[in-house]
Symmetry: C2
Subunit: 116 residues, 2 copies
């Protein structure tokens, strides 16, 4: 029998303003690795693309849904989008971002929660 109830889906999105940074794949992967470890996420697949203007998109399909990080080095901005079928909260997401970006010259991290 099909359950018409909504599955547990949580989504947290962050806009990060940061000092001019080296938008290398290594930098973005380090950021993601810390978040994945802190939030106990399980990676199923991974894909990335480096754009002409040095922006990077790094995508992970997770056992729990997905994590995507975009960098916009021309604006000194990064964007992180986490969708999870797990019981994390906004504070944990923000804490993992602050840990990942420790001593990286972050000006601000603004986090939004998408609720249904």
């Amino acid at each position: 029998m099909t359950n018409q109830s909504i599955p547990l889906i949580k989504q947290f999105v962050a806009l990060i303003k940061i000092k001019p940074f080296d938008s290398s794949l290594e930098f973005v992967e380090e950021l993601a690795d810390i978040m994945i470890s802190d939030l106990d996420l399980k990676v199923v697949k991974k894909m990335c693309h480096i754009f002409n203007l040095a922006g990077i998109t790094l995508v992970y399909i997770l056992a729990q849904s997905h994590l995507v990080i975009h960098t916009y080095p021309e604006n000194s901005v990064a964007h992180s989008d986490l969708v999870i079928c797990a019981n994390h909260n906004k504070k944990e997401f923000e804490k993992s971002l602050r840990h990942a970006l420790y001593e990286r010259g972050v000006y601000s991290i603004e986090v939004k929660t998408v609720k249904f």
Copy 2:
């Protein structure tokens, strides 16, 4: 000189309740193809995963950012997440979803906009 302004980033997220459906990769790709065409998105890379319980995650890296669709067939639910660096609006996103899901037995489509 680095521009500290926020780039144009728009994000629309939809939770779709739908009649029990065949959560095949073909179904999810058809849905995505219509959205990509309607919204004039340019696909750069694509990745998918089929989970044990028949849920599917389909991810596109776009020239404009990303589109991710998850299906939760056990709940008759799909989730669509579009991040775009382009001047689309919520109505266009919802219209493309309704077009893609025309005659698919949709009960409801709830769309949220993430604003920074």
